[in-house]
C-alpha cells in the first residue's frame, strides 16, 4: 500500500507567534518553525501501516524553501521519500488554493492512501483533507482516532464530541488523524543519518500545471482584513464561602454552561 503523508511546517505553537504586519499572513520568518504536531501522528500511522502491509511512504509538503528542514526531519522518522512543492507565488494561499496544489501533487503520486493531521496549529481550519478528497473524487475519513487497514478496505473510528463513529471506505481515500491515534516514534539516529540521502523531489506550480494567479494572496478566496491581540485577561470572580459556597459554585458553572 503506497501512502502519502501530508506534512506542514508551522511556527512552534509553544512559542510566541504572530502575523506579519504588511500582508497579515503567518509570520514564518521570526518564528521557530517545526513540523505541525498532528502530522507526526500521521507519519507514525503511515509507518505502522507500511510495517504491516509494505509499500512506500512519501512525505508531501507545500511550503516555502525553509520547509525543506521539516521534510528532512519527517524523513528521519522513516518515510522513504518526499515531494516538496515550493513556489514564491504560493505565499498567502487560502485553504482552497492549497488543497488544489496538494491534490495536483497527490495526483502525480497516485497513492492508495493519503494521511494527514486533522488540523494544523497555525491555520486550524480542518478542511484541507476534505477538500483534497473532494477534488480527487475519493472518500474522506476524517478525525480518526483509530485506523484499520484490511486489504483495500479502510475502517476508521472517527472521534466526535460524544464518542466515536465507525466509518469505512475503499481505497484510495484521505484519512486525517487526531493525536489520540498513536504515539509517534522518536527519530532514530540511523533514521537521521539516512534522511540526508533520501530523495526529495522539488516541484513548482508550473510543474503541476497550476497558474500563479490561481493561488497566493491574489487568488485567495478569503482575506484577513484585520488582526489584533487578544484582550488582556479579565480579573477573576471571587466567591466568598458563606456556607453556600457549593451552591454558588454550581450556579457559576451552570451560568458558564460547564454543567
Amino acid at each position: 500500500m503506497n501512502i502519502v503523508v501530508l506534512v506542514k511546517q508551522v511556527p512552534d505553537s509553544g512559542s510566541e507567534r504572530g502575523l506579519s504586519a504588511d500582508d497579515k499572513t503567518v509570520d514564518r520568518g521570526s518564528a521557530n518553525n517545526v513540523i505541525n504536531e498532528m502530522d507526526e501522528y500521521a507519519i507514525e500511522e503511515a509507518l505502522k501501516i507500511q510495517e504491516a502491509h509494505g509499500g512506500e511512504v512519501t512525505v508531501l509538503t507545500v511550503g516555502p524553501q525553509q520547509a525543506a528542514e521539516s521534510i528532512r526531519k519527517a524523513l528521519s522518522m522513516g518515510p522513504d521519500k518526499a515531494m516538496h512543492v515550493v513556489d514564491d507565488a504560493l505565499h498567502g494561499s487560502c485553504a482552497l488554493a492549497t488543497s488544489k496544489v496538494l491534490a495536483a501533487a497527490i495526483g502525480r503520486l497516485s497513492p492508495d492512501l493519503v494521511i494527514s493531521g486533522a488540523e494544523s496549529t497555525d491555520g486550524r481550519v480542518q478542511v484541507i483533507p476534505h477538500m483534497i478528497a473532494e477534488r480527487l473524487g475519493i472518500a474522506a475519513l476524517t478525525g480518526a482516532r483509530k485506523l484499520v487497514v484490511d486489504g483495500a478496505t479502510l475502517t476508521v473510528e472517527r472521534q466526535t464530541d460524544e464518542g466515536y463513529e465507525v466509518v469505512t471506505a475503499a481505497t484510495p481515500a484521505v484519512v486525517s488523524v487526531w493525536d489520540t491515534i498513536n504515539e509517534p516514534r522518536y527519530p532514530s539516529f540511523k533514521g537521521i543519518m539516512a534522511a540526508k540521502k533520501k530523495p526529495v523531489e522539488t516541484l513548482s506550480l508550473a510543474d503541476l500545471g497550476i497558474a500563479a494567479d490561481e493561488v497566493g494572496l491574489s487568488g485567495a478566496s478569503s482575506a484577513v482584513v484585520e488582526a489584533g491581540k487578544r484582550p488582556p485577561r479579565q480579573g477573576g470572580t471571587k466567591v466568598t464561602d458563606e456556607g453556600d459556597g457549593g451552591v454558588k459554585l454550581v450556579e457559576f458553572l451552570a451560568s458558564e454552561k460547564f454543567v
Binding site: R72, S76, Y186, S188, I192, M193, K196
Partner: protein, 392 residues
C-alpha cells in the same frame, strides 16, 4: 528543562554553529527523550536510590543511543561528536543515567565490538544495541582500583574450559546486567571474558548507601569458580591495554557528559538569580553574583571547545589517551566547581532535592573518581610532559 532563555544565552560564543545539522538533530532527539522520559522522574529515582534501568535502556536503544558510535551489528554508526552531544544531554538530566549508557556502549559493547569473536559480536551486540540485553564492565576490585594491573581475579584453564575466581567492586549496571565483561589474570597476563550473568558461580549484589549516583545501579560481583567455555574469552583482548582502550572511549564521553551536569546547574542558577530578590533587587544584579555567573559561563564554553576538539580528533582517528586525560581532568574538575558555585547562588534551596544542583554536585564526585581519578589523569599528563612515570 527545555532550552529556555537561560540555556540559549549560555552559548556566548555561538558554539552551536560549529555543529552539522545532523549533529544538532541527534542532540535534539536525545534532549527531547530526556525531557520526556527522564527529567520528570529522575529526582524521585535519586531519592529512592533506584532507577528503572531496564525500561530506560530499552527506550534509549529504540533511538539507537546504545553503542551509537560503533558500526555494524545493529549499532547506529554515528560520529564521536554526536555521541558526545548525546552524553551531554543525558548527563544534563543525571550523571547516573549517562553512566548507564556509557557503560553499556563504551565499555561493555565496545569491548566486545573491538576484541570479541564474530560469534560473540553476533550473540551480544544487536541485543545490547536495542537494549534487550544490559551489559556491565568489571575491572575494579575491592583492593585494586587505580592500579588494575595488580588485580587479584584469576583465570585458570581446566581442560578446554576456563575457571574465573575473584571479585569485582563498584561495577555500574552489575545488579541488572545480562552480560558482564570481566577482566582477569592468567599466568600470561590480563584477559577479558564475556560472562552471561546467569552462569553458575556468578553473583552480583547491589551496593547500597551511596550518596552519589543514586539513580544508577552499582554492584559488587563475586566470581566463585565460574566455569566458561573458551568461546567466552575475548580472543583479541590481551593485556591491560585492552581494558584501558575501553576506558579511553568511556572517558571521552565523560568529557562531554560532565558539561551537561554543569550546564544544567548553571541554567538553573541563572534563572534563580534573575528571579530571587534580596535587598530589594534580583540577586543576579549584584556584582559578586555576576562575577560567579560570568566565570562559570566561561569555563563551560572553554570545556565545550575542548570536548569538541577531542571529538573532531576522534572522528579523524587521531585522538590520543593523554588528550582524553586532559579533557576528563579539566571538564570534570570544572563541572564540579560549577555545581558547587551554583549551589551557593541558590542559598538554602541549593541543598534541596527540589532543585537538581546538589544532586549533580554529588553525582560528579563519582565522575571525578571513576574512569581514572583526577590524580591519575594528572599523572598521565605529567608523564607526557616529563617523560617520567610517577606510577611505578
Amino acid at each position: 528543562m527545555t532550552p529556555g532563555v537561560a540555556m540559549t544565552s549560555l552559548d556566548l560564543l555561538d558554539l552551536d554553529s560549529l555543529h552539522s545539522d545532523e549533529e544538532r538533530q541527534i542532540r535534539d532527539v536525545v534532549r527531547r527523550m530526556v525531557d520526556e522520559r527522564v527529567r520528570p522522574f529522575v529526582a524521585g529515582w535519586y531519592e529512592d536510590g533506584e532507577a528503572p534501568v531496564r525500561e530506560l535502556i530499552k527506550q534509549f536503544g529504540s533511538i539507537g543511543l546504545l553503542g551509537m558510535h560503533l558500526t555494524g551489528y545493529g549499532c547506529a554508526g554515528a560520529s564521536a561528536v554526536a555521541y558526545g552531544l548525546a552524553c551531554l544531554e543525558l548527563e544534563a538530566a543525571d550523571s547516573g543515567v549517562r553512566s548507564m549508557v556509557s557503560v553499556q556502549g563504551s565499555l561493555a559493547m565496545y569491548a566486545i565490538w573491538r576484541y570479541g569473536s564474530e560469534e560473540q559480536k553476533r550473540a551480544w551486540l544487536p541485543a545490547m544495541a536495542s537494549g534487550e540485553a544490559i551489559g556491565c564492565f568489571g575491572l575494579t576490585e575491592p583492593d585494586h582500583g587505580s592500579d588494575p594491573a595488580s588485580m587479584a581475579t584469576r583465570a585458570r584453564r581446566d581442560g578446554d574450559d576456563w575457571i574465573l575466581s575473584g571479585g569485582k567492586m563498584w561495577i555500574t549496571n552489575a545488579p541488572v546486567a545480562d552480560v558482564a565483561v570481566i577482566w582477569a589474570r592468567d599466568p600470561e597476563g590480563i584477559r577479558g571474558f564475556v560472562v552471561p550473568t546467569d552462569t553458575p558461580g556468578f553473583t552480583a549484589r547491589e551496593i547500597r548507601h551511596k550518596m552519589s549516583l543514586r539513580a544508577s545501579a552499582t554492584g559488587e560481583i563475586v566470581l566463585d569458580d565460574v566455569r566458561l567455555p573458551d568461546s567466552a574469552r575475548l580472543p583479541e583482548g590481551r593485556g591491560l591495554r585492552a581494558p584501558l582502550s575501553c576506558l579511553t572511549q568511556a572517558r571521552y564521553g565523560i568529557v562531554w557528559g560532565a558539561l551537561g551536569a554543569a550546564r544544567d546547574c548553571l541554567s538553573v542558577a541563572l534563572d534563580y538569580a534573575v528571579s530571587r530578590e534580596q535587598f530589594g533587587r534580583p540577586i543576579a544584579g549584584f556584582q559578586l553574583t555576576q562575577a560567579k555567573l560570568a566565570d562559570m559561563a566561561l569555563e563551560l564554553q572553554k570545556g565545550y571547545l575542548l570536548a569538541l576538539h577531542l571529538g573532531r580528533r576522534a572522528d579523524a582517528g587521531s585522538m590520543t589517551p593523554e588528550q582524553v586525560s586532559v579533557g576528563k581532568l579539566n571538564n570534570v574538575r570544572e563541572a564540579i566547581a560549577i555545581a558547587r558555585q551554583c549551589r551557593t547562588i541558590l542559598g538554602a534551596n541549593g541543598i534541596s532535592g527540589e532543585y537538581p544542583i546538589l544532586r549533580h554536585a554529588n553525582n560528579l564526585e563519582s565522575v571525578l573518581t571513576y574512569e581514572g581519578t583526577s590524580e591519575i589523569h594528572q599523572l598521565v599528563v605529567g608523564q607526557k610532559l616529563t617523560g617520567l612515570s610517577a606510577f611505578s
